[in-house]
């Protein structure tokens, strides 16, 4: 995964404190989760909204995509509430 390779550049100084390391890992994980989620959103929204690719995005396709992104963003929160 891409985000794991971008570490601290130029960190000539030796040690991160445990807290700093944990914070960094959390940030990278969050980034990775967000990217993974976006991949799914892209695929699903393209699937649902663009049935016949044309020479440009029509207005209805564009608004479908917007709605799709908004809906999709709320899904993980709703699912998380189940646990």
């Amino acid at each position: 995964m891409d985000s794991f390779t971008t570490g601290s550049s130029g960190s000539g100084s030796s040690q991160l404190s445990t807290d700093q390391f944990i914070d960094q890992m959390k940030a990278q994980l969050a980034q990775a989760y967000a990217e993974e989620f976006l991949e799914i959103v892209r695929e699903k929204c393209f699937d649902k909204c663009i049935t016949k690719p044309g020479l440009s995005l029509s207005g209805s396709e564009s608004s479908c995509i917007s709605r799709c992104v908004d809906r999709s963003s709320r899904l993980p929160v709703s699912l998380a509430e189940l646990f």
Binding site: C45, P53, G54, S56, I65
Partner: protein, 78 residues
């Protein structure tokens, strides 16, 4: 390994290039998969028909258009 080697500009440049290549590869694979499903609906023939070709080309471009819309939308949400 001498830790200063990890910071060398050559290595950084190499890593960045490899990262970019990986991203391009990923995009090509994704477009191939998505657009094949979308555009090649019947049994594949010897060549792409003109409508299949047009569809594939449109598909790739619309996918990129859509990616832009999604990026902007997500950014505006934050």
């Amino acid at each position: 390994m001498d830790s200063s080697a990890l910071n060398s500009p050559d290595l950084q440049r190499f890593l960045n290039q490899e990262k970019e290549k990986a991203m391009v590869n990923e995009m090509v694979a994704k477009l191939t998969s998505v657009c094949w499903d979308k555009c090649i609906t019947s049994t594949p023939g010897n060549k792409f028909s003109s409508s299949e070709s047009a569809c594939l080309s449109n598909c790739a471009q619309r996918f990129m258009d859509m990616t832009m819309i999604i990026m902007k939308r997500v950014q505006s949400m934050q």
